[in-house]
């Protein structure tokens, strides 16, 4: 009978059980992450080709970048990733207020990252370096600004999750959104780890 199966429907209607919803949403985010790898992968391929063609241009370009600011930003993003990972464990254990606090720490780290990036960009503009300067800086501005866009989107997602969490929406039996939002934030961290290596370190 149709009526018996309706009883098992989760509130959203698409999923039979909360477990289905949880694993489907996580899988959806992983699929999105797979497409993001290929989005940045295209830029990495362009980088690889021009790095092979014009090594001197990339040496000179790298020397213009501030290793100190780049390293600081790397550590900031690692700490933010750590903080949101702690937050997921916290909500899985029912520590709602701890999750709110850890999301605030993550958002502050994201904002600090953005401030550093602002100073880096304005310093470049002051030295007369623009995306049109050469291919290295075209790639630098393209890659870092696309990454910065992801940071902003990630901060917006985490902010919304924080508001819902303060209203008591999440618990040890419903932490799908915090976990999926955290997955997106970790992706932003992983992309930066490679960008840092490619743009600031490789000589």
């Amino acid at each position: 009978m149709a009526a018996t199966s309706v009883e098992h429907l989760h509130s959203d209607g698409h999923f039979v059980t909360p477990q289905d919803k949880y694993s489907s949403m996580k899988l959806g985010m992983w699929l999105f992450i797979a497409t993001e790898i290929l989005l940045f992968g295209g830029l990495f391929a362009v980088y690889a080709i021009y790095r092979a063609k014009f090594p001197e241009m990339f040496f000179n370009g790298r020397d213009e970048l501030s290793l100190l600011l780049g390293t600081t930003n790397t550590v900031i993003l690692i700490v933010s990733s750590f903080s949101i990972a702690m937050g997921v464990t916290a909500i899985q254990r029912g520590k709602k207020n701890l999750l709110t606090f850890l999301i605030i720490v993550t958002l502050l780290c994201g904002a600090l990252f953005g401030v550093n990036k602002y100073f880096e960009y304005t310093a470049k503009f002051h030295h007369g370096i623009f995306p049109s300067t050469d291919i290295f800086f075209a790639l630098y501005f393209m890659m870092t600004s696309l990454h910065m866009l992801h940071v902003i989107v990630g901060m917006a997602i985490l902010f919304i999750i924080m508001i819902f969490n303060m209203k008591g929406k999440y618990s040890p039996s419903n932490y799908t959104a915090p976990e999926v939002g955290a997955l997106y934030w970790h992706l932003v961290d992983v992309i930066w780890i490679y960008l840092f290596g490619l743009l600031y370190l490789v000589a």
Binding site: Q19, W30, I37, F44, I49, G197, L201
Partner: protein, 107 residues
């Protein structure tokens, strides 16, 4: 390593493990910055070391922070498939760059 799981089927990574992972990530960042200041005589070696350390860091983040270590087979297939495509893209682009022979045509 804890095997604590939850009613939703998600894995709970203990705080202690996360602290260990973040410590390793910061130490690896220090190492990769230090190594980048060394001159081995071959730029390719610097690139290789920087990318190897970045990959170790990416693995640490995805395995523990993103719980990939505890995910099912289909998630792993998605990720490995996209990484294989990425290797094809970068690998064939670079092999074209290094191996292409430009024919000399005289009109």
């Amino acid at each position: 390593m804890s095997t604590e799981t939850h009613e939703l089927g998600g894995h709970i990574v203990p705080y202690k493990d996360l602290v260990l992972v973040v410590t390793a990530l910061v130490i690896l960042t220090g190492i990769t910055v230090f190594v980048s200041t060394l001159d081995f005589g071959y730029a390719a070696l610097n690139i290789f070391i920087a990318m190897a350390i970045a990959s170790v860091k990416a693995c640490l983040v995805s395995l523990w922070f993103m719980h990939l270590k505890f995910e099912d087979v289909i998630t792993w297939i998605f990720i490995i498939f996209s990484l294989v495509l990425l290797c094809l893209l970068i690998g064939f682009s670079l092999s074209d760059e290094f191996l292409r022979i430009t024919p000399k045509v005289n009109f």
